[in-house]
Amino acid sequence: MSQSFQLQINGQHQSVQADPDAPLLAILRDHLGLTGSKYGCGEGQCGSCTVLLDGAPRRSCVTPVSAAAGKSITTIEGLEESGRLHPVQQAFLDAEAFQCAYCTSGMIMSSVALLKQNSNPTQSEIEQALQGNICRCGTHPRIIEAVQKAAQASREQRS
């Protein structure tokens, strides 16, 4: 039965009325209009719906809203800061690491999570982190390049 949940999304407090097992993705997209996270499979297999829960990448299509309550939720819409793209977004844009771009939100969120954990990942570590994200257009080499560029840009920003 429907319950009230308090969600912390992109730094903002949101209250939603939903079934506890409703997928977080449906809440984001249908209740809150945050459509940047995509439905690709609903089975946690393609990564298009990836969001960050307390900084960790999660498949929002298989995450019940009840499991997201009380955690800090970040979606693609929450990455920009006062009109400035996140370094990962900027790197994807610069490398044009997309074609149809339906996977891009999920790829960017998984990459942001990786770089939080590992500021200088090897190619194999990037591949490992993105293995659960499908790009059907075959843009993988540019995505790897974008993550490497973003890592470099973030390191330079810090130093």
Binding site: D19, T35, K38, E43, A101, P141, I144
Partner: protein, 724 residues
């Protein structure tokens, strides 16, 4: 709340007989030009408008060779139009759609280039049946060769009108004036007028009956450049609205009750309980059972409350027997001249041979698996249906929806938001028809997004195929005979590009088992897999280098050039430096472009484990419109091609798909990536051809040939299904 019972039939999954390669062709509806022109300035405001009319039916991009379309049936049609507003805004219109192949960018570049305006000032309106000219669809790699020249023609005509307007105003000969950077300049008098100034106060429409000369590639300034994707920023911020993202007010979410197997019909259906649920619309109509509700979960609950009984009549054949079935059920009608090509005498070619070889090859059914599933948002208002849907054929979907709802086409508008990929998979309007049916019943906007399982089951597949090849070689290594039979998968690129005096090449159609349709490089992939694997087998049997063997039987200079370019970049002939290493090469031509791929693999001693470690593809499609987008397409096609080569395969039995999930239908992921390089040959002396499909074709045979080189075991079936 309502249960509708009026006449409505929906395809339960089995399409009628296929047209090889061009399955979905149907007669186009006539676009009403007079109406369009009248409305044109209403929509866009005053200014200058140019309409391109195809010089003759054959020049229409929609009439690309397709045996079912006869010229007299074709409309005397407008193919593109362009408008320059009083503020200088340039808007170009085409029925083509953007599905990730980057056509929006390449078409924008071509218009900007020809009109002599900055790239950023051109807006491209695509795939909207109310605003754009009729178009058969975005497929067959036709956008670049057919639509680019049409748009360039209208842009060129607009430029001339602007120059003439300035010449009249200044009272100087037009020949003394130059157009550049959205201005007409008189270099002698050192004065200029902007396009905006020249368009002011005009409502001038001009038809373009004749083909005018357009700017040759050697003089391009905006086209030919590696410009970024239009609206690129919206894709990294999540702002771009795909069909699945649209949320009109009062939206309902739809779910469809699917039959248990292909071909099943509804024997009985009790929807009373579901219809009684609050805020739920249920439609039972023919074999269609669907529900719409304010939340997706509610619609799911409504479906669960429906008691339906289906009468099943599944095909007996499964993926295990499919290839025998194809051979046994080939249509005798295939023996027509169109399907059969003969040259010289096969008997003679075979009799004088030093080597003879006979093998057969198979390709499995595979799915497109676009990441954005088929989806539609339908809105019924004032007796008019507006549909947003990701389709490659908006005008055909308009017809489909009008027919299904029994309303005139003029009451249906189809709009295609830039779409989350298609690869040939989004030619039909299944989701659009379903959403429209529910929207009409509910009298509210309805969104339907197919689940991944629906996508893998109820869309259509690339057909499976069996190919039999027989060949002969003389003592000097020249091919003397070539016999090639394709069963079911299609006749595209069935002809050999090699020089063989004696040939018999035939396509055999077979009644459909699974619903099949277009696919990126559909039959060309199958035919190249068979041909290029066989070429490797022949070369090995004759102890010839596979590259040298190909070159010594090939006079097509463009194909030779890509083979040589790929070989050079790859370092052919390669040297084996480690255990299990192997190298393969393959090449081909299709739809006016040329490809050659070299692959390096590593395999274990038992030959059941394979890793593709390096892949080099050389590609040539005439003059390159956007090298940035082209590189994405070539590398993307190569990676997608690895899926079909190594592991993609639809398994089916008793009219059911057995692996309708990404967990069981494997697609290429990051761990599958080889080191991959693309060599793009830019031929400014040759008109641009499309590039979306051909680069996929040589991947599988090159990988299979490399695997043989590594292990001595020949793989003649796609996918190879090894442990990778």
């Amino acid at each position: 709340m309502s249960t509708s019972t009026n006449q409505f039939a929906i395809d339960s999954g089995i399409a009628p007989a296929i047209e090889p390669e061009r399955y979905e062709f149907s007669s186009p509806s006539l676009h009403q030009f007079e109406l369009a022109r009248r409305d044109f300035f209403k929509i866009l405001g005053s200014g200058i408008a140019i309409f391109a009319i195809a010089k003759d039916a054959a020049a229409l991009q929609e009439t690309a060779p397709g045996p079912r379309i006869q010229p007299p049936q074709m409309p005397k049609e407008i193919t593109a139009w362009l408008h320059i507003g009083e503020d200088g805004t340039v808007t170009a219109f085409t029925g083509k759609v953007e599905v990730g192949q980057n056509a929006r960018t390449s078409l924008t570049q071509s218009v900007a280039d020809e009109l002599r305006v900055p790239f950023s000032t051109v807006r491209m309106v695509m795939g909207d049946t109310e605003l754009t000219p009729f178009d058969m669809g975005t497929f067959g790699s036709r956008t670049t060769p057919a639509m680019v020249p049409q748009l360039r023609r209208v842009a060129e005509a607009a430029r001339n009108i602007l120059i003439e307007a300035a010449a009249k105003q200044w009272n100087v000969p037009a020949a003394n004036l130059k157009a550049a950077n959205a201005k007409v300049t008189d270099p002698a008098a050192k004065k200029f007028l902007t396009y905006a100034e020249l368009a002011q106060g005009k409502t001038l429409a001009q038809l373009l009956p004749e083909a005018d000369p357009i700017t040759p590639p050697s003089e391009w300034t905006v086209a030919g450049q590696p410009l970024p994707k239009v609206h690129a920023r919206d894709f990294v911020t999540g702002k771009h609205q795909y069909t699945t993202d649209l949320r009109p007010e009062n939206l309902l979410y739809a779910k469809i009750l699917r039959p248990p197997s292909f071909g099943a019909t509804l024997a009985s259906c009790d929807a009373k309980a579901a219809s009684a649920l609050p805020n739920v619309t249920v439609v039972v109509d023919g074999n269609f059972v669907g529900a719409a509700a304010p939340a997706e979960a509610q619609a799911e609950r409504a479906l669960a409350a429906i008691r339906a009984q289906w009468k099943e009549s599944p095909q007996k054949v499964s993926d295990r027997e499919i290839f025998d079935h194809l051979k046994q059920n080939a249509s005798p009608e295939s023996d027509s001249r169109r399907e059969k090509q003969q040259k010289g005498s096969l008997t003679e070619g075979l009799s004088n041979a030093a080597h003879k070889l006979e093998s057969s090859y198979t390709v499995a059914y595979i799915a497109h698996a676009p990441l954005e599933p088929r989806a539609a948002v339908a809105e019924w208002r004032d007796n008019k249906m507006t549909i947003w849907t990701g389709t490659q054929r908006p005008f055909a979907v308009r017809t489909e929806v009008a027919n299904a709802l029994r309303i005139p086409e003029s009451n249906v508008r189809v709009i295609v938001p830039d779409t989350g990929s298609a690869y040939g998979g989004k030619h039909t309007g299944d989701a659009a028809v379903e959403a429209a049916r529910l929207a009409k019943a509910a009298n509210r906007p309805v969104k339907l997004v197919w689940t991944r399982e629906e996508e893998f089951t109820w869309a259509y597949f690339r057909p499976a195929g069996l190919i039999e090849v027989k060949s002969a070689l003389d003592a000097s290594g020249k091919l003397t005979a070539w016999e090639f039979h394709n069963y079911h998968s299609g006749s595209s690129a069935i002809e050999t590009p090699y020089d063989v005096a004696n040939q018999l090449i035939q396509y055999h159609s077979v009644p459909l088992i699974l619903r099949c349709g277009s696919y990126r490089g559909l039959a060309a992939t199958a035919n190249h897999f068979a041909r290029e694997t066989h070429m490797d087998e022949v070369a090995r049997a004759a102890k010839l280098d596979p590259l040298e063997f190909r070159l010594s039987n090939l006079s097509d200079q463009r194909l030779r050039a890509v083979l040589e370019a790929a070989a050079k970049k790859f370092g052919w002939p390669p040297k084996k430096l480690k255990e299990g290493q192997g190298f393969g090469i393959a090449a081909g031509t299709e739809k006016g472009s040329y490809v050659a791929t070299c692959v390096e693999v590593i395999s274990d001693a038992k030959a059941n484990k394979l890793q593709v470690v390096r892949l080099v593809t050389a590609f040539e499609c005439g003059a390159i419109v956007n090298p940035n987008g082209l590189r994405n397409q070539v590398i993307g096609a190569n990676i997608q091609g690895l899926g079909g080569a190594l592991f993609e395969s639809i398994q089916f039995e008793n009219g059911r798909i057995k692996n309708p999930h990404f967990a069981t239908y494997r697609v290429p992921r990051f761990h599958d990536l080889p080191q991959i390089e693309a060599v793009l040959l830019d031929r400014k002396d040759i008109p641009s051809a499309g590039a979306g499909e051909t680069p996929i074709m040589a991947v599988a045979p090159a990988a299979g040939n490399a695997l043989f080189d590594a292990t001595g075991i020949r793989r003649r079936s796609m996918p190879f299904t090894l442990d990778t």
